[in-house]
Symmetry: C2
Subunit: 393 residues, 2 copies
């Protein structure tokens, strides 16, 4: 169960013919209420896709009745025609579900700079609308079909659920395997809940959750133009959720989906946690960890099972003093539990490090304070190069 | 001819046994005067290698009699012992050449976090010292041996010369194939001249030249801990160089070496010029071009001969408004002369772009001003991953 786990939600995934592969490529998640509260976080990329521009307008009143998502095309850098396609898609959903188009979020993912086929899109919306009227539209199978329909280079759907003893539930689905380096938001993620919460409460909880989960995933340093995380509340449980408990459960769910995204990142053979400890501030810990996560040399070494810790420190050293306080010669580095560097000098032999497991931890102790942060990244592999050298062709 | 082209310089390259391959791995370039003026630019990485820490002290008085360079080890993150190794190397050179150790620059390149073998180093310095006393120590062959001795993963030596009708000459050699993303300086570069110029004049000319050449090379986004560009003047021509003419020739020579470094970057199959036009300021053009040069998705697409211009704009969009002024929907993109995007919408079909040549140009017109800049980068290839996944092992 994922987005259909909370009461009040139905979902569908259909084949609209947008993907060359012929698989499921269009999903709708609809909120049957009684509430239609929502919060979203969008990409901070200035090159925002048409669905983002549309959805930002939808969010002006914090009300969302449904969200439609397609793979097979990002509808980004497609100009006025592309925006009209997004608008027409929302109108088609509104007509099928008898809601206002102004309450329909649109998400698209795929190649940038190509027009989507509106005829196929609207036919897909019609099929999905029919499926949503089906008895099993609230089933786990329906949620799974929606999660499958938003996949691009993902090899498996990503779903997660959190159930509160208080009587409410959160469900979520996500897609994303490349261009995985969000700024404020990431990929396409739809989260549903039947808790009773206002749009403002949802917004607070969602921003806090994404800040420490999706925002800390930096698989390949590339920020998408289409990233959207949406949180829809139906209130169908009738339970007023404790905001703190809800925020905790939401963060756990987002963390679950984040690690699923990391585990399925394009071509990756290692899931790497860059853990910075004893920084002067959390933001500085994030800055240092992100610099390491963006070092191609470090990432290629991890692929080769090579504990080349000099590349960790060379990346750390690129951070200016204004951005992070630390003594560059007072840093410790441990890789998979082996302390290879203490106070800027070699410690345990690098040969002791076992990098054969998929999970890798790199702990960087800055000795500059008490704050910390983790960035999740992946290695740089032949498969990553292969997948991304032949994406549009 | 390279560093030995200007009068007053001798060079040697010998095998000290530091490289596993058994090739040339230690070079000395000595200035026989009459002047010993010099300027240097060092890496802006805060994790500076021991040779950088030493050489910064040497430069306090702007006097340099000789420079010793080794491959086979970076002598970075090697602590007090590593610094003593650098100091002892300078003392050995001083003894061989009968100069002050305080006038000997030291450069090292190779793996970080391993001690250099001082016995091998000093034996190598002894051999090089003998070679420098040879009659042909000022020959082109001697310069070539020095250029070969500083190679690491380079496949060929890099040399360049500029000759002024006024009667002075500049020669240069460079090494660098990975960790190619300098901040203020880059790789190991030694430039010699027989022009009569003060250390202050050399410093001004060198900073202006590196700013628009080595600093604009960003092959893999990784900044080294050991980068040093040195400019030594012997004054042996007896000609007072016009500072503007000298700066122009020096910039041309640095540009020549920069393009040689790009052309030999690890595993690269394309040399890509990211040309940003009509930016509000030169710094903003550099920022935009650098963001594109660091997009792994863009670089992998170029490797695959895929003109995926959406990845160019997605990278441009990551730049904040504070860092560069532009309308994200008003940008034009041309790849190898084909205008694939005009004002944020598809223009000529991407299929018209021919990416089979090694040289690629990506022109990004921001329509935000009149400034421009070029960043030189490379594609992301299987060979890059291969070379860098098995470097220390």
């Amino acid at each position: 169960m994922s987005v259909t786990a909370p009461a009040g939600f139905v979902a569908a995934g259909v084949t609209a013919g947008l993907k060359k592969s012929g698989g499921l490529d269009l999903a709708i998640v609809a909120n049957r209420g009684p509430l239609a509260n929502a919060a979203t976080v969008f990409t901070s990329n200035r090159c925002k896709a048409n669905p983002i521009i549309w959805s930002q307008q939808v969010m002006a009143d914090g009300r969302v009745s449904a969200i439609v998502l397609n793979s097979g095309g990002a509808n980004c850098y497609t100009g006025t025609i592309g925006f009209q396609t997004t608008h027409a898609t929302a109108e088609a959903v509104a007509e099928q579900l008898d809601v206002s188009a102004g309450d329909v979020l649109v998400c698209s993912t795929g190649l940038i700079g190509e027009q989507l086929d509106l005829v196929k899109l609207t036919a897909g919306v019609f099929d999905a609308g029919l499926a949503l009227k089906d008895d099993d539209a609230a089933s786990a199978a329906a949620g799974l079909a929606a999660a499958q329909a938003i996949m691009t280079t993902d090899t498996r759907p990503k779903q997660a659920t959190q159930v509160s003893p208080a009587g409410w539930t959160i469900g979520g689905m996500a897609k994303g395997a490349g261009m995985l380096a969000p700024g404020l938001a990431t990929m396409l993620v739809v989260i549903t809940t039947d808790a009773v919460l206002s749009s403002a409460q949802l917004d607070t909880a969602l921003r806090e959750a994404t800040r420490v989960t999706f925002d800390r995933l930096d698989s390949d340093g590339c920020m998408s133009t289409n990233d959207t995380v949406s949180l829809l509340a139906s209130g169908a449980s009738g339970v007023d959720a404790d905001p703190d408990e809800f925020a905790g459960a939401l963060t756990a769910l987002c963390r679950d989906l984040t690690l699923q995204l990391q585990g399925d990142a394009e071509g990756a053979s290692h899931d790497v946690a860059i853990i910075v400890r004893n920084a002067a501030a959390e933001t500085e810990a994030v800055t240092v960890a992100r610099a390491v996560s963006r070092s191609n040399l470090f990432k290629a070494a991890i692929y080769g099972n090579d504990p080349n810790w000099g590349r960790v420190l060379a990346a750390v050293g690129t951070i200016s003093e204004a951005d992070a306080a630390f003594d560059p010669y007072g840093i410790d580095v441990a890789i998979n539990g082996i302390q290879v560097c203490t106070a800027g000098e070699p410690d345990e032999p690098r040969e002791l490090v076992d990098l054969t497991p998929r999970a890798v931890s790199v702990v960087i102790d800055l000795h500059a304070g008490t704050a910390g942060a983790t960035i999740w990244t992946n290695d740089l592999t032949h498969d990553y190069v292969e997948e991304n050298s032949a994406y549009s062709s």
